[in-house]
Amino acid sequence: MTQPEPDATPVLALEEVSKSFGAVRALRGVSLRLYAGEAHALAGENGAGKSTLIKALAGVHRPDTGTVLLDGSPVEFHGPADARDAGVAVIYQEPTLFPDLSVAENIFVGRQPTRSFGRVDHRAVKQAAADLFARLGVDLDPEQPARGLSIADQQLVEIAKALSFDARVLIMDEPTAALTGSEVSRLFGVVRTLREQGAAVLFISHRLEEIFELCQRVTTLRDGTWISSEPLAGLTEDDLVRRMVGRDLDELYPKQETETGEAALTVRRLTREGVFTDVSFEVRRGEIVGLAGLVGAGRSEVARAVFGVDRWDGGEVEVLGRKLKPGAPSLAMAAGLALVPEDRRAQGLVMDMSIERNIGLTGFAETTRAGLMNRRAERDRAVDWAVKLQVKYARLADVVGTLSGGNQQKVVLAKWLATAPQVLIVDEPTRGIDVGTKAEVHRLLSSLAAEGVAVLMISSDLPEILGMADRVLVMHEGRLAAEIPRAEATEETVMAAATGRAARGRDAA
């Protein structure tokens, strides 16, 4: 399986590295070599150990056994600082910004340009950040505080930070999960330049086409073990999937034909000042409605307002004929509404609580007897759904924060599907989920719709929207810009509406 590798010494390498967390053996004897001027992909299902491998490379985790080699000689990184000083820049899977610091300071923490007597040169910091953003083609104000940035913007800041190192090794753990097309291509452009200048790149993504577009070589992990390392040339996506999953995959967007019934969710002229205006739509039973738009278009905000987490200033929301009160999620839930939020770490899960308790949070009505918790019922409910969604865990009592990103996402889904909702709003339901599970989630959404559930799906993954939705709503700058039936929905029509060129587009056509 191993094809001849370049003769040169790898810039950074892992040899036979193992790492366990208690009973979980996240990595077992994995080796990986990164060469100058080469982009290396890391593929594997959720929980395969990709992020753990990266953290071992970056000095966040100390391997239990095995060595890290820098330019061929063993090194021991005692912390992220050591790795950074050795020229390794890392973008972690979950953005780790300082909410109170400005974007520019976030990028240069600990490395700010200085003036005489070691004083920080604030102007230079700002300028350097602005330059980085220009290079990435991103329009962010360097002096804006990081608090309140959308996930996508946060990820962009992380990318800018990693680039600012001019590192010899650039490691990126799912940097594109929250990004849309043009940002991704900009990023790839910059990364290619770096690579051509001699940097080694390690790249993780669950979007296989990105791997093929950017990388030359791929290493596959399964359940913490090394499966293969090989050049990408000559491989197909199916080959890669087979290596990751160990079997062939089913159809990716398994859309079932369903009959649509009465309107289950009706939103009329919903307005939240400064965020979105005059949003009206309805979702019928058995229907999957896609909600598309650019990053920052306000889709998540609409979802949050409908569910009642945010208040709305005007308009009304009806679920199965029942009017909802603004700002009351518990009433919305009682009416049969469920929302799978976009930020699983902050909104979807209580990271310090166990899997069981997290799933249980939405089901007190079912799991209490005479006002007291029924442990058995609570457990059964959690097990049922964790198994149904194939969450990979050791014990139900494990803290959710120790699961891999994709498995966390599954727990969020489990938590909400367990409420047997009539109307399900999913916000980026497959962000960070591997191809196998993604298909699983899609099948699940399809069958839910077939059972008569009304589904509103927000996604930045356009193929997903196009593959799954019966109708596509497109938002642009806080307003509903277009409603496109499935037959007419293509990348062109949706993007045209999303970028505000809908009218012009139609004129031209």
């Binding site: 987490v309 209580v350 209490t368 006002g371 007291l372 803290v399």
Partner: protein, 344 residues
């Protein structure tokens, strides 16, 4: 990520090692046994009843405080609320009102105090630490205005007896009975009802709790109100137990409660802890003070011991964990390959 691991293992310890609240409970039992056998005058019923009676105010407030802290908030005004309720009790008594009317009024006052704290925290979104530092001064000040320099001592003897007396010649003070009932209620609420589950969720991540449809503000508000109510009850008890209603009753009680609750392993970041631990912490400190006094340990040295105990209580689990981890790391190399536990 590693941060969550450490947090997670903090309570359970690697490989299901001893939890901190269990450890405090065990420590308490050991202390009791040692005191019974080796400390003169400790074991007799009168002393034990003194010990319980003097610890009751702290224990009473520790109940709602634990719930509040689990939900990620804190109330520093408990001592002042108790003082205020005592002061009002004294003032109304001096006015000639009947004690049977006064006590419910005082409890109502406690509810109002808690409501003010709760509304400021939940409606205005202010940090509870800041709010209750403010109300701590405000309530105490109002108590001072109401009762001034008076010290009311002539409460009816049957009430005073209830506050200070014990059942026959046993070691059980009368007041311990209602406390046991309240304790049972609190344990059930925190550990076996949706309310308790929700409090833990709110404390660990308020936003996630809100997204799960938990009525965060209402729950928090009701916790503040409960804390106010029980603080007022403590104030009434205090005035009867010490047969003295003064504006400065129960000064500094908040620190004692917090120290005890912390010792019991309740995490002030919210989301962690058990009532058993908190109560064990309360009585551990109370017993320790009693024993040290009997052994003629000076007040100054007692302060040092309390402080050391607090520091050790947070350091010990941490050190233990590190030792266990390094041992586990050594072992990991020797363990044979085993497929990971998966679901299906």
């Amino acid at each position: 990520m590693t941060d969550t691991t450490t947090k997670a293992t903090a309570r359970r310890g690697p490989g299901g090692a001893v939890r901190w609240d269990t450890a405090v409970g065990a420590l308490f039992v050991v202390l009791l046994l040692c005191s019974f056998s080796f400390v003169d005058n400790f074991g007799n019923a009168l002393n034990v009843s003194f010990l319980i009676g003097n610890t009751l105010p702290i224990a009473l407030i520790a109940l709602p405080m634990t719930l509040l802290v689990v939900s990620g908030e804190v109330d520093l005004s408990v001592g002042s609320t108790a003082g205020l309720s005592g002061a009002v009790m004294g003032a109304l008594w001096n006015e000639g009102m009947s004690i049977e009317t006064i006590i419910p009024l005082c409890l109502l006052l406690g509810v109002v105090c808690g409501l003010i704290n709760g509304l400021l925290v939940t409606r205005l979104g202010l940090p509870s630490l800041a709010v209750t530092i403010g109300t701590m001064a405000a309530y105490r000040g109002i108590a001072q205005i109401i009762l001034g320099s008076d010290s009311v001592t002539d409460f009816p003897s049957q009430y005073l007896d209830f506050g200070a007396g014990r059942i026959g010649d046993t070691f059980i003070p009368y007041a311990a009975l209602p406390f046991l009932v309240l304790l049972a209620i609190a344990v059930v609420v925190l550990h076996a009802t949706p309310v308790g589950r929700s409090l833990f969720a709110i404390g660990a991540s308020e936003e996630a709790a809100r997204f799960a449809g938990i009525r965060v503000k209402r729950l928090k508000l009701s916790m503040f109100v409960t804390t106010g109510l029980l603080s007022a009850l403590t104030g009434v008890f205090w005035a009867l137990h010490y047969a003295s209603a003064r504006y400065d009753n129960a000064t500094g009680l908040e620190l004692s409660v917090i120290a005890a609750v912390l010792l019991g392993g309740i995490d002030f970041d919210g989301g962690k802890g058990t009532l058993g631990g908190a109560i064990a912490g309360v009585f551990l400190l109370g017993t320790l003070q009693n024993v040290m006094s009997l052994l003629n340990v000076s007040a100054q040295s007692q302060i040092v011991v309390t402080g050391v105990l607090l520091v050790v209580s947070v350091l010990a689990p941490r050190v233990g964990r590190q030792i266990a981890q390094s041992r586990a790391r050594r072992k990991a190399t020797a363990v044979p390959l085993r497929p990971p536990a998966a679901t299906s």
